[in-house]
Amino acid sequence: MTPSRNALSGPLHDVATDAGYAAPPERVGFFTDTSVCIGCKACEVACKEWNLVPEDGLQLTGMSYDNSVALGADTWRHVAFIEQTAPPAVPEADGDIRWLMSSDVCKHCTHAACLDVCPTGSLIRTEFGTVVVQEDICNGCGYCVPACPYGVIDQRPGDGRVFKCTLCYDRLVDGMEPACAKACPTESIQFGPLDELRERAAERVQTLHDAGVAQARLYGHDPDDGVGGDGAFFLLLDEPEVYGLPPDPVVTTRDLPDMWRRAATAAFALAVGATVSFLGRRP
């Protein structure tokens, strides 16, 4: 399908130009290779340190080693932990244990529902192709929160505005990589031009498949998916829902034209219905 200007869904190669930038730099993003994540959470800490995100919860969750729980207004990098035990090869023996670890982040979608539904223009597309909240404009209407198909953006208690990963916009403009990518010791979080990352990711998946890791797959890499591909995509070792990710996310805006049509028709029907009610003799 050929992308058209201001398309609401489908592949869209140049998000920044589409958003109105004259000569934007290459689109950048994250490739998070969860097959080399060691669950150290340096990404969580580096993000909070750089962005002065408040601490958000001192309760043991029992969700393996995940006490951060989920992405939200005060957690912009969230490391998930999933313990799995394979059925034993022989009864009486122990099955192999697998411990999946994955650092989740805002996907900076090509078609970002949060951005689409923001009524104040607070959420914008930057020249880097990323999606960012302008905190001096946001009035906390909260519409972006249920619009996000990944459940990323949220309202900060006590503040009223919404917050999410900025892909360290302030670092990007100074030519630096985001704090989480810098801190990650195993290069699970890789930052760079999105095209390059996608190539690297394809190679990595191939390497893993050749090594017998059949369950390795990319997630969010495909420009033909429901959000036009993510600016932050992943290599996973199991189904997305195991990590808390939607299997087949779709930007809600895709259906919006149809919604408007139906709303218009319903409104029209209401007007007609009201008018008809007044026809005929009194009373």
């Binding site: 729980v69 989920a70 998930a80 529902a113 689409d116 539904v117 923001c118 009524p119 104040t120 223009g121 607070s122 404009i137 946001c138 009035n139 906390g140 209407c141 909260g142 519409y143 929160v145 249920p146 619009a147 198909p149 990944y150 459940g151 990323v152 503040d159 009223g160 505005r161 919404v162 189904e239 829902e241 195991v242 990590y243 808390g244 939607p246 299997p247 087949d248 996310p249 809600t252 805006t253 259906d255 919006l256 149809d258 919604m259 408007w260 139906r262 709303a263 319903a266 409104a267 029907a269 209401l270 007007a271 219905g273 009201a274 008018t275 008809v276 009610s277 007044f278 009194r282 009373p283």
Partner: protein, 297 residues
């Protein structure tokens, strides 16, 4: 299509985030907005067909509903002092932006029209304002369905084909109910007709909607959302029937009207709760998406 009973999730946690909107603020706004929109239309039609009592009552309902709605919305904001930022841009992709640009002029016009009608000042300007409000009125009633549906909330998004009609019909029932409650029998006939038509339509369309939704429609049938919608249905049915049989009873009409108003209000609460429930339980997000992938594979 029967969805898989088994699905996987991350410790049973939600995949998406439910609305942070406050209750009762947002459900009340939906109700008040629909009521106000329809009332604005009824007011103009009443004026045109010379039914002054109906006109007055509807003008007040339009203005009052708008006022309640605006208050509820501003109160719901995380940063209420920044409510004017709603008018920084006009975005078609944002039902809330479009809605703000509908609500803002509508409130002004409806208030002006009501003030003019009640005080008798500037009648021509007041009439013009009323016409303007009436033009925006139906939109007031239906854009809120788009507001809800244009999210990732499964019970809302998947319901988008019918939801505008449900809200329109519910608004019609509420707008008409104002006439049943506040207007003498000799002027309220059109309101009665509209109320009954709205109520009946709402009941039918809702059934159709839930039937088509299937698994994802579960929150409309079960839990808190289910209970609220059941109550709403009962009240709307009672009010619709009541509207039909109380042509000659002022008191009966008022009772029917109140039932319809309550039903319309509870419908909004019910839809709101159903949405929240569908956001909370990961199965409503995962199961249909997984099924979609399996089908296309």
């Amino acid at each position: 299509m029967v969805p898989e009973a088994e699905f996987r999730s991350y410790y049973g946690r939600p995949v998406i985030k439910g609305p942070v909107w406050k209750t009762p603020d947002v459900p009340v706004y939906l109700f008040a907005g629909g009521l106000a929109g329809t009332s604005a239309v009824i007011a103009e039609l009443a004026a045109w067909t010379r039914r002054p009592a109906l006109e007055r009552a509807s003008r007040v309902a339009a203005a009052g509903g708008a006022l309640i709605g605006v208050t509820a919305l501003v109160h719901d904001l995380g940063r209420p002092e920044r409510f004017l930022n709603m008018l920084r841009v006009f975005k078609l992709t944002s039902p809330l932006s479009v809605g703000s640009w509908i609500l803002a002029p509508f409130s002004g016009l409806a208030a002006a029209a009501a003030l003019s009608a009640l005080t008798g000042t500037l009648p021509r300007l007041g009439r013009a304002a009323g016409v303007g409000a009436a033009a925006l009125g139906p939109a007031m009633a239906t854009y809120t369905a788009v507001l809800f549906a244009d999210t990732a909330v499964p019970a809302w998004h998947e319901a988008y084909p019918e939801l505008p009609y449900v809200f329109a019909a519910s608004a019609a029932a509420a707008g008409g109910a104002v006439g049943l409650v506040a207007v003498p029998l000799d002027e309220s006939a059109p309101a009665r007709r509209l109320a009954v038509a709205g109520g009946a339509t709402e009941l039918v369309v809702e059934r159709v909607m839930e039937g088509r939704l299937g698994f994802v429609g579960e929150p409309y049938r079960e839990g808190r959302g289910g209970r609220l919608l059941k109550a709403a249905r009962l009240l709307t049915a009672a009010g619709t029937l009541g509207g039909l049989v109380t042509r000659r009873s002022r008191v009966g009409s008022a009772a029917a009207g109140v039932a319809l108003l309550a039903g319309s209000l509870l419908t909004r609460f019910g839809v709101f709760e159903a949405g929240r429930a569908s956001a909370r339980d990961p199965k409503y997000t995962v199961v249909p998406q997984r099924a979609r992938l399996t089908e296309s594979a």
